[in-house]
């Protein structure tokens, strides 16, 4: 198959993939807005606080970003038990520390999560590199 025909065949596939991605983005955005709206309505009816549980949402988002990117970056180590064991240990320490701190702190500024996400990712990279180096 020539390069030109290969490129032509790939074009509709890429366009379709892009459309699916955009539809997914829109669906996720609608879902999030609806959830926040329903939460606000529920709180208004029951006389609760309008505040979202931001400290927990932030922690969950931070966890997803740090571990999600780490797992994606270490694709070559997916078949190794040691990688998952090390990641599991780090996750346990991360969760334990996070829950311990968040239970004792009433409010966590969102800016702190923005800063901590990058720092924790670098720490995780150094930790995995220390134990997995030379095994890939």
């Amino acid at each position: 198959m020539s390069l030109t025909s290969t490129t032509r065949n790939q074009m509709p596939r890429q366009t379709r993939s892009r459309r699916i991605n955009w539809l997914l983005y829109v669906a996720i955005a609608v879902l999030i807005v609806t959830s926040v709206w329903m939460f606000a309505m529920h709180q208004a009816r029951t006389g609760g606080s309008p505040n979202l549980p931001l400290k927990w949402l932030g922690f969950a988002g931070m966890t997803a970003i740090v571990f999600g990117y780490a797992i994606r970056a270490c694709r070559q180590s997916w078949g190794k038990q040691k990688f998952w064991a090390l990641l599991g240990l780090f996750f346990a320490v991360h969760s334990g520390l996070g829950v311990f701190v968040l239970l004792r702190v009433p409010v966590v500024p969102l800016v702190l999560y923005a800063v901590l996400t990058g720092i924790e990712y670098v720490v995780l990279a150094a930790y995995l590199g220390f134990f997995l180096d030379g095994e890939r």
Binding site: M41, Y69, R136
Partner: protein, 170 residues
């Protein structure tokens, strides 16, 4: 060792001076290690000839793969201070400073790298795990910032909806 599919383009010319002459003969292997943004050559004393390193192929996890392809015997040229002065006031050397591998270029890259906390020199990191992960560090840091912004927007939207439902705003 795992070879990275990237060959560095820096060209290193070693200046001739009594205290900093290169001790390697043509074809002899020189020790070259990646340290930050520059390659440091392992020098010896009392050398009579110098060589130009034309290319260094980077290898992960250890000393760089090196080649010495050309020689320029110091004994046949001008004295070391003459060569030094000629190099110092050379227009080509001045413009080379701004190109890849030049000191001004290195200074600019190092300054930019120092300002950005998530862009360490990937080539200076020996661990392949850290290399692949640090390549995503910028995206991770950006995601953390975006997540915080999104949560703040969600809080604003939720409070507005709450206020509308309770008659606090119209």
């Amino acid at each position: 060792m795992e070879t990275i599919q990237r060959t560095l383009r820096e060209t290193f010319s070693v200046r001739i001076a009594p205290s900093r002459s290169v001790c390697y003969q043509k074809g002899e292997e020189a020790e070259a290690y990646r340290t930050g943004l520059q390659f440091d050559l392992d020098y010896g004393d009392d050398c009579s000839c110098a060589f130009v390193v034309l290319g260094i192929k980077e290898v992960a996890g250890g000393p760089a793969d090196r080649r010495i392809d050309d020689t320029s015997p110091a004994n046949n040229g001008p004295s070391w201070w003459g060569a030094f002065a000629k190099n110092l006031f050379s227009w080509k050397n001045f413009t080379d400073e701004f190109k890849q591998g030049g000191c001004v270029n290195v200074f600019g890259n190092a300054t930019a790298g120092a300002l950005n906390p998530f862009s360490p020199s990937l080539s200076s990191v020996k661990s392949s795990v850290v290399r692949s992960m640090v390549a995503d560090a910028n995206a991770t840091a950006a995601s953390g910032g975006l997540m915080s912004l999104d949560l703040a927007l969600a809080q604003g939207f939720g409070t507005e909806m709450y206020s509308m439902a309770t008659g606090g705003c119209h």
